[in-house]
Amino acid sequence: MPDALADPIAAARAALVDERRQLTLDELATLAALPDADLPALAEAAHAVRLAWCGSTVEIEGILSAKTGGCPEDCHFCSQSSRFESPVKALPLLTHDEVLAAARETAELGASEFCLVYAVRGPDERLMAHLEDVVGLVRGATGLNVAVSAGILTAAQATRLAAAGTHRYNHNLETARSFFGEIVTTHSWEERFATCRLVRDEGMELCCGVLLGMGESDAQRIELIGQLREVGPAEVPVNFLDPRPGTPLADRPLMAAREALRWIALFRLALPDVILRYAGGREVTLGDLQELGMTGGINALITGNYLTTLGRSPQEDVVMLRGLKMPIGTLSKVI
């Protein structure tokens, strides 16, 4: 067994691949403090863990903002808040036909998952009725697994969404509990945590993402990992802050590529069985280095455009995955 003091990366790899033991938060903090020179070895270990726990398949998802802008919440990174002077303006709820058209586009891009996203605090009755219609319509018309992201849920709403056939429900913790108040003041971290719990209680897969680069410390990222473990997500989308004009975080610098790759590797080492998805900000943060994330812990991606911003061409993702010999398919969390 490698000596954890002399070679913490080899020790972490052995713990996860040979012993199938989860790393402690202290062990993760040690890995987070390693010098940049260790990044290639860290990424290599993360890739080995991903292959051992999840295989080589990559899951592709498309996302659609089905109700854009006008959100009453004040998430400081978000251009869809009505509280900020952002170029993103409010639009009405998309019609069933508009949602179906976007779902068909998404299926043609090679995706197996389609996430409908609504800029709301939580669903009202009109939105619930819409969701109960469109989830089944999209699934029936395209064969896609349908995910929903509509904010904070009540227990009764979670029950209804599960009954409607929602495959995954997305509700991000975004950041550590100790940092959340710096980023959002209109709802609490505890409210988010409670919705995450409801999702799992109702038997839906939980998609619970993070947003890195908002000013949180390394210790707070480790804290976040511990909190993610508590909610037990099937999927963790990894977003990197793309500072949006008009938001309170507009002037924050982009995260450095090497730091992003380090944290991709650490999230994989921390959460070996989750679907770890490339999400918003990957293009601006990693540029030509996106392949390194795929060989450093990532096993899923959002392809094409995001909610209000543009991603790279899906064809570029397909070419990347072909080059890496990573098959495209559907994933579920290994339990």
Binding site: G62, I63, L64, S65, T68, P87, V88, K89, L91, L94, E98, A101, A102, E105, T106, E108, L109, A111, D242, E283, V284, T303, G304, N305, Y306, L307, T308, T309, L310, G311, R312, S313, P314
Partner: protein
């Protein structure tokens, strides 16, 4: 981008802004009149409609 009389990133006249839109953003302002566009982004592209000019602009992915 300033492909018309106005910048599509900020809506100001092209003489005042030679294009502040980002590669990761769809157009937000009408190149003809500088007014706000109703923008819908989808996985495969985007549309931006000017209610004043009654025109719809379309695009794809990040350039």
């Amino acid at each position: 981008m300033a492909e018309g009389a106005h910048c599509t990133g900020c809506g100001r006249p092209a003489a005042e802004c030679d294009g502040c839109g980002r590669a990761s953003d769809p157009w937000h302002y009408c190149p003809a009149c500088g007014r706000w566009l109703a923008v819908q982004v989808t996985p495969a592209g985007w549309t931006a409609t000017c209610r004043t000019c009654a025109t719809t602009h379309r695009g794809g992915h990040r350039t």
